[in-house]
């Protein structure tokens, strides 16, 4: 039998790096040097910080291109970037810079933001702690997941991709070790796109997925 599943929780401490950009060229220049933690944060951190839940854009760069620079074309291109498609954040950085350079080349003017709409590069520290809850059987997920905090959902479903060598979430990694019987469930979990969801919605989808799986003939 595989190891038990310990439910952990996390909280992010948001930190201002002090780097900022007022135009697209400054954004590009900053992106060349900024720590990968900051890029990761601007793609994923919004899930855990005060933001309206149905946000229009899924990363901060796309949002700034739209609201700060009023460059709708660039905004749409950046919004399509899927961070889960890049195993290393460094690759995501290169792709982002590529898109920006392409836009700079095709623009007659460098897009500028108002002074009070600059892009502020931020990063975060993640504090992970044990909830003391331990699952020994996969079917316990049916009750455990709906009761999880949003921090736990972030840790096990989003943050896991940085920890697990194959970019899996923690549920997939655990169930994968519990035997072939859970192969179908692992595939289902892998098909959930976390990038366009709020954390409460993600928790709902996961809860539904586990309830349906274990409530059907699979259990």
């Amino acid at each position: 039998m595989t190891e038990s599943f310990r439910i952990k929780d996390c909280a992010l401490a948001e930190i201002a790096t002090g780097s900022r950009a007022q135009n697209l060229r400054e954004l590009r220049d900053n992106l060349e040097h900024i720590d990968t933690d900051s890029i990761y944060y601007h793609f994923w951190g919004a899930l855990l910080r005060p933001r309206f839940i149905n946000r229009e854009f899924n990363n901060d760069f796309a949002e700034w291109a739209r609201r700060g620079l009023r460059d709708y074309r660039l905004s749409e291109r950046i919004a399509v970037l899927d961070p889960t498609a890049y195993p290393e954040t460094e690759q995501l950085r290169r792709e982002l810079i590529e898109l920006i350079e392409e836009r700079l080349e095709e623009s007659e003017h460098v897009p500028w933001a108002r002074k009070d709409e600059q892009f502020h590069f931020r990063r975060s520290k993640i504090v992970v702690f044990d909830t003391g809850i331990e699952l020994s059987r996969p079917e316990q997920l049916v009750e455990a997941v709906p009761a999880m905090s949003l921090g736990s959902v972030f840790y096990h479903f989003i943050d896991a991709r940085r920890r697990e060598p194959r970019g899996q979430n923690d549920f997939q990694a655990w169930l994968g070790g519990c035997g072939e019987a859970y192969h179908g469930l692992c595939l289902q979990l892998g098909s959930i796109d976390p990038f366009f969801q709020s954390l409460p919605e993600l928790r709902r989808q996961l809860s539904d997925g586990f309830r349906n799986w274990f409530g059907s003939a699979h259990s």
Partner: protein
């Protein structure tokens, strides 16, 4: 007896409180001290009045110390406050010496407690020089800046910067407010306390009584702006927006409530101009309320159909948060922290002109369903993000992060 945490659990859910307990367990045995310069009045004191007892309930020993000084000390710190927000007024050397001497004196009074504390939060510039007098300090010291430092008057900031640079970390409310520091700058937005007089649920009878007291007709729509009479709050723009909207909604009433008599000549001039602009319209109510009229303001916000905060410059804008918590859509200026809270069609509308505000007033007054939907979303948005419990969680997270300097990822337990 119901504890504070139990009361908060009824509002935010037991899971949120459980998370606070789990974070706090990691800090058991630590001693925390907050220092500011006033026990009552002002947003900082309001927050500390709850943050400190909640920290203690969570099992972390937490004290709150207040420093005080002569009138010259406050004269100087008022000058800091204005200058750091961009007011180009130099501070006389004599007052700066008073500020330094007051901090030295208070350091002697508080030395034992502060030097032995594990974590010390120093709020705003008033007590910022205490750190210089604590060479034997054993804990981590954090400067909590509640002020928008984005455009400080440089000579004053150059003077203060060496004092605050020595801290182990600082906290600002928004990234836009930050100045570069040689240490980590954490971002923690402020919050409101749902159990305070300003925000607590009120009986309908109390709301009705306030309507009667100020001659507000309950059968006609009412909009309000709660703000001091300051040009940056654009009260004249509010009156203009109201007048434009009233052409389409003749029954509309406007309440503008601010603080009573002030020693600020500019404020008096603005108030005079507002009164002139409102002359002859019995449906505009200009209210000058005492500083402790929290329940009255609470009732006015609840009585309103929607709330305006048409600022042209704003810090975080906690009056916006308060209105949203009462389930009201907010029409807010497209500036500062209002942008973080007001999302078009979701929690209210951002506007740039009186005309824009008038358009949104009309839209919301004539669309009751939308008004209620947006108001309900606004309340939930505040519940998730801007209540004191979220603030507490971020303080705890910060304290844990400070125990592990240099680590991006801190795995506990």
């Amino acid at each position: 007896m119901t504890t504070l945490l139990q009361s908060y659990a009824e509002i935010v859910g037991a899971d949120v409180i459980e998370q606070l307990h789990q974070l706090a367990r990691q800090l058991a045995g630590r001693r925390v001290v907050h220092v500011n310069s006033t026990r009552v009045g002002g947003g900082v004191a309001e927050i500390l009045a709850k943050l400190v007892p909640v920290t203690n309930e969570l099992g972390i020993e937490c004290d709150w110390e207040v420093i005080s000084g002569s009138p010259d000390f406050y004269h100087c710190t008022k000058g800091f406050h204005n200058a750091l927000q961009g007011n180009a007024t130099p501070i006389p050397e004599r007052l700066l010496r008073v500020w330094e001497e007051t901090n030295a004196y208070c350091a002697d009074q508080l030395r034992e407690k502060l030097e032995s504390a594990d974590i010390v939060f120093i709020h705003d510039p008033q007590p910022a020089a205490l750190l210089r007098h604590m060479p034997q300090r054993r804990g981590r010291w954090i400067w909590r800046c509640h002020i928008d430092l984005s455009h400080p008057f440089r000579p004053v900031w150059r003077y203060l910067r060496p004092f605050v640079s020595q801290y182990d970390a600082s906290i600002f409310s928004l990234a836009d407010f930050v100045q570069r520091m040689p240490h980590d700058v954490y971002l923690i937005p402020p919050s409101i306390d749902p159990l305070s007089e300003k925000n607590i649920e009120l009986d309908q009878s109390e709301i009705d009584e306030v309507r009667v007291r100020f001659g507000i007709d309950p059968d006609r729509p009412m909009i309000c702006q709660i703000s001091r009479f300051d040009r940056f709050k654009d009260p004249l723009g509010v009156v203009q927006a109201y007048k434009l909207a009233k052409k389409f909604a003749p029954g509309l009433q406007l309440v503008m409530a601010g603080g009573e008599a002030t020693d600020d000549p500019e404020g008096e001039a603005v108030l005079r101009e507002v009164r002139e602009a409102c002359e002859g319209d019995p449906d505009i109510h200009i209210l000058l309320l005492p500083a402790d009229a929290h329940r009255t303001i609470n009732a006015l916000q609840r009585a309103a159909d929607l709330v305006l905060q048409k600022s042209t410059r704003e810090g975080f804008g906690l009056t916006v948060t308060e209105a949203m918590w009462k389930g009201k859509p907010v029409i807010g200026g497209d500036v500062g922290g209002i942008r973080l809270q007001v999302v078009n069609h979701q929690t209210g509308f951002l506007v740039n002109t009186p005309e824009g505000a008038a358009l949104r007033i009309r839209y919301l007054i004539f669309n009751g369903g939308e008004r209620r939907r947006i108001g309900a979303q606004a309340r939930e948005f505040v519940r998730e993000n801007f209540l004191l419990t979220r603030h507490m969680r971020e303080y705890l997270t910060l304290m844990l992060a400070l125990q592990h300097p240099g680590q991006q990822r801190i795995e506990l337990g």
